[in-house]
Each structure stands twice: as C-alpha cells, then as structure tokens.
C-alpha cells in the first residue's frame, strides 16, 4: 500500500549498507522537532501558572513519572529519562501517523523491533548490573514444587526471550491494522459513491477517533510493559 512505502530521498550507500535518507527517517526527525519544540519552547517561561504548551509538557512529564513510580518504585526513577524518551517518541510517531498524507514510522516492524530490542537489552543490562549472576534466578520462581521446576524454567526462559517480539509486534500490528482498516473503508466510500458512501464515511470518522485513542494507548502499553520488565530486573525477590 502506498502509505506504507519507504521512499529514498537521499540515496546513500556506505560499505554495501544502505544508509539512504528515507521518508521514515524524515518523519523521525519531524517527531524529534515536535518533541523539542514542546519541551524546550513550552518550558521556556517556567511560569508558576503554566500556559497551554507548558501544561502539555508538564502533564506528559507527570504522567510518565507517576507510571514509573507506581510500577518500579523509587529505584526505578533513576531510569526515568530513558522511559520518558521512549514514551514521548512512540507517542509522537503514532500521533503524527494520524495526520493525513503523513507516514507512520511505527507501522514498520523493524522500527518497533529496534525499540523493543533496546528495551530488552536495557533490562538485561540493568538486571545483571544490579543483581550480578543472581539475575538468572528470574527463570527459577520460588515456591514451585521440585518436580515442576524443569518445565517451569523452560517456560520462563521462553517467555523472557519472546518479550521483544511480542512488544514490537503489538505496537506494529496495532498501527498497521488501524491504518489498513481506514484505507479499506475509504475504498468503500469511493466505491459506493455519493448515495451510499455516507455510511462508511461516518464509520471512518468514528474509527479515526478510536485510532487516536489506540495511538495513545499503544505508546502507554509499550511504556508500562517496559516499566514492568524493569521492575523484574530491579526487584528480584518475588
């Protein structure tokens, strides 16, 4: 489909690897610009009674800060910048994707997989840095009968390594399925013409509202799961 196509704007190849500047990269830069304007320009006044832009910046900060505090406790707050960056980046990319004729970066699995792999490696790094080899006890839950232990351990290892895949596919599938659905209903509008096309058009308006909710929700879910995984690594004794 046309809206998911990657276009090369500046073709560039270094040592056989494609480094072209694509529309995907362009929209990531736009997202960074939007975030920078929101956070730097919005917080410029540092007013005691915040204006509109400052309110948005403060609300998003408070929202993520509360999420991190609730899910990982005090120790998790030192990783707040990382989690906030992930949240605001995914949220901005999802929301920019809702603008007509834009490009949804998060509807490509390689982008979401890179983000999920980053989270996965980060959790492993934090877990080993905090607990040393004791981090491997994550795979051996306490209070399990000895007979069940081999089976449970295999399952735990499996569920641990499936995390980056489920995390990335969840975000990518939601964004792609939503945009495809809108496209399919847009085709119905055109196909049914002036007389019958109003019903799918009304549905599309409602569905666009739902998609905005999903765009926010998926950024939220990605971040909450990051916090939960981080909590596993920080608080081993469960």
């Amino acid at each position: 489909m046309h809206q998911f196509e990657i276009k090369r704007y500046i073709p560039l190849e270094i040592a056989g690897i494609d480094f072209s500047f694509t529309n995907s990269a362009l929209w990531m830069f736009i997202a960074i610009a939007v975030i920078s304007v929101l956070l730097i320009y919005g917080m410029r006044e540092r007013a005691l009674v915040p204006g509109r832009l400052q309110s948005v910046a403060e609300l998003s900060y408070e929202f993520v800060a509360n999420m991190v505090r609730e899910n990982t406790g005090r120790e998790g707050m030192q990783y707040f910048p990382f989690i906030f960056s992930i949240f605001i980046f995914i949220l901005t990319l999802n929301m920019l994707g809702m603008v007509p004729y834009s490009f949804t970066v998060t509807s490509h699995i390689i982008v979401t997989f890179a983000l999920a792999a980053l989270v996965f490696l980060f959790v492993i790094f934090v877990g080993f840095a905090k607990n040393g080899p004791g981090f491997l006890k994550l795979f051996v839950p306490s209070g399990v009968p000895a007979a069940m232990l081999p089976l449970i351990t295999v399952l735990e290892v499996f569920s641990f390594f499936i995390r980056p895949i489920s995390l990335s596919v969840r975000l990518f599938a939601n964004m792609m399925a939503g945009h495809m659905m809108l496209k399919v209903f847009a085709a119905f509008v055109v196909g049914l013409g002036v007389l019958g096309g109003w019903a799918p058009l009304l549905f599309m308006v409602a569905f666009t509202g739902l998609e905005v909710l999903v765009a926010f929700l998926q950024a939220f879910v990605f971040t909450v799961l990051t916090c939960i995984y981080l909590n596993d690594a920080l608080h081993m004794h469960h």
């Binding site: 596919v169 599938a173 939601n174 999903v214 939220f220 879910v221």
Partner: protein, 75 residues
C-alpha cells in the same frame, strides 16, 4: 486443492484469532463495569488497568491478523 485457494482459506482461518480478541475485550469491559457498579469509588483507580487490559487483549487478536497478512502477501 488449488494453492491459491488454500492460501485464501488459510488466511481466513488465521484471522479467526480475532474471535478471541473480541471475547477478551468484551470480558474486560464487562468485568470492569460489574466491578465499577458495585464499588464506584474504586473504579477510577482501575481505569489505567482497564486500558492496559484492553490493549493487551486487542494485540493478541492482531497477532492472528498479522499471520493472515503474511500468508496473503508474503508467500
């Protein structure tokens, strides 16, 4: 059987994963309403969990949809 027909049937079967997603989403919102009507004062505190559960349930159905799309467009 014609391979093209088998492909379409397979994609159709794969998208039945959305049945489970529908059941899950209905169950989550139904349970939330049941709980919220019994104890309305505790309901707002559980709203983030409701959204989390909704998104997680929806995602499992979309995994099936992705399998259907892979069958249709990759093979």
């Amino acid at each position: 059987m014609d391979p093209a027909a088998a492909k379409l049937i397979g994609a159709g079967i794969a998208s039945t994963a959305l049945i489970g997603a529908g059941l899950g989403i209905g169950n989550i919102f139904g349970s939330y309403l049941t709980g919220a009507l019994r104890n309305p004062s505790a309901a707002p505190g559980q709203f983030p969990n409701l959204l989390l559960g909704f998104a997680l349930a929806e995602a499992t159905g979309l995994f099936g949809l992705i399998v259907a799309l892979i069958i249709l467009f990759v093979f």
